[in-house]
Amino acid sequence: MKQEIFEVAGKRNLTDTVFEMLLYGDTSAITAPGQFINIKLNNFFLRRPISVCDCDENGLTIIYKVVGGGTAALANMVPGDEADCLTGLGNGYTLEESGARPLLVGGGVGVPPLFGLCKQLVAQGKQPTVILGFNTKAEIFYENEFRALGAKILVTTADGSYGMKGFVTNAMGGLDYTYCYTCGPEPMLKAVYSAAETGGQFSFEERMGCGFGACMGCSCETKYGAKRICKDGPVLRKEEIVW
């Protein structure tokens, strides 16, 4: 973990309510895709956890949806503004188990951390398939960015307005994959858990006090005892999950 001041270097709308933001600053504490940062925002007591979508030595990208006051404040920031962030939080995904044809399943704002993961998997010569699930066409983002990585992309929409109609699990049937990485709302994680025919890693969300393991605010029970989503997670392995 490091505490660093980042500079907002760019921001753009991906949908009506989803923004991509580029933050310049020291990323040396970030060691794995699927980790997150915890951002201090003016007039809010607690920091806001947001996954790292992509990152290099100059900075990182986050993608966030405006759902309340904190994310609205984040959406109001403009290039040049400073953001105090804790970085390098959480365990992140490990790539070792991926096999040759990993499957990545993301739903809504669960999509961002899979981007950095996909990039690294491709760099290692793996052939990822990515399922991106959204409610409706207007909410889709990052389809092209994933395609540009060279991954195979399947998009589902719940209302059928784009891609395959239905849930991400509808797209999983018949696919040939060696391992499964996923991030999204809990009902989706549960469905993927049931549908997945391989091992996998699942990224969870929980309301957080600190985000770095000090307060026990985010604990969950696993088959191997209590774990902190912020420190021992957010990524849990399929075999340890207790629903």
Partner: protein, 303 residues
């Protein structure tokens, strides 16, 4: 050179800054980002006789200038704390630590304190009779002078270490409870634990916390905490550890003027993990600005 030292029940602290129980774990997370040996000491996560998972999640809710928690005393139990946490801790913290103890019966308290009494790393016992998160079939021990005193007597029988009673602010008359603890033999008073609070999610129309209510802390509670420290200082002779919303060196000085011998920092650690380090670094400058040479001179100075 100003002097930031204070003496807490016979042990000298380099400064009065003590991270508060439950907000500093067993110190490891913070040791990653600064040398925690600069602290006066720190108060460990509340320990109970048996291991506890605590309450269901969500356990955290945000408030204006503060937060709610309903962690519910998650901890590995006193035996594991002694066999695993303390030995690990000794690698990154070389001072005496304050062991925070909770319980659900007088015997629980006595059991855990007796075990911790044997640990040379433990300098003080901080006995939490106040946690509002845990429903033990009634009001907490800290809401009546009699039951608080009963805990004091049971604990004092099994330990020679100084015992600080940590009181809940959710009471009509904090002074009578503090006095009962003093009369029963407590060596000091820790003030305050969290205020009982609540938030409701407007979208789901349900309480944010799975446990419905939780403990409110952070800068919002500072004026209440300060008032209680001031009131208790007028009534007891034993030292007081002040806490509740402390965020800065100025807040530390204000708490000490009210009557605190040492000052704990809680929720601030969670949002600004470097808070204690920053306060320790800012204290000398703040003292100079205010013409304070010896920090221990100002204890109770506002009376």
């Amino acid at each position: 050179m100003v002097d930031t030292k204070v003496v807490l029940s016979g042990t000298e602290l380099a400064n009065p800054i003590i991270p508060a129980s439950g907000t500093f774990g067993f110190g490891y997370e913070f040791a990653e980002i600064y040398d925690i040996n600069i602290l006066g000491t720190f108060s460990t996560k509340g320990t109970t006789k048996e291991p506890r998972f605590g309450n269901p999640t969500p356990r955290i809710a945000e408030c204006e200038a503060g937060m709610l928690n309903s962690v519910g005393l998650q901890n590995p139990g006193v035996d594991k704390v002694i066999s695993e946490e303390l030995p690990k801790l000794s690698k990154c913290f070389h001072k005496k630590v304050m062991a925070n103890v909770s319980g659900f019966s007088v015997e629980d308290y006595a059991y855990s304190c007796e075990k911790l009494d044997k640990e040379p790393q433990v300098g003080w016992l901080e006995v939490n009779v106040s946690c509002p998160n845990v429903h033990n079939g009634g009001m907490s021990f800290g809401t009546s002078p009699q039951s608080a005193a009963e805990v004091v007597r049971a604990v004092k029988q099994v330990t020679k270490k100084p015992v600080f009673m940590k009181l809940t602010p959710n009471v009509t008359d904090i002074v009578s409870i503090a006095k009962a603890c003093e009369d029963a033999g407590a060596d000091g008073i820790s003030l305050i634990n969290t205020l009982l609070g609540m938030r409701i999610d407007l979208k789901t129309k349900r309480p944010v916390l799975a446990n419905k209510m939780g403990g409110f802390s952070g800068p919002a509670v500072f004026p209440v905490a300060l008032r209680m420290v001031y009131q208790v200082y007028e009534a007891v002779k034993i030292p007081i550890i002040g806490m509740g919303g402390v965020m800065s060196a100025e807040n530390v000085i204000e708490m000490m003027l009210a009557g605190a011998t040492a000052v704990q920092v809680g929720a601030a650690n969670l949002v600004e993990p470097l808070t204690c380090k920053q306060i320790i670094e800012a204290l000398p400058g703040e003292m100079e600005r205010l013409g304070i040479e010896k920090l221990s001179d100002i204890i109770g100075g506002a009376h």
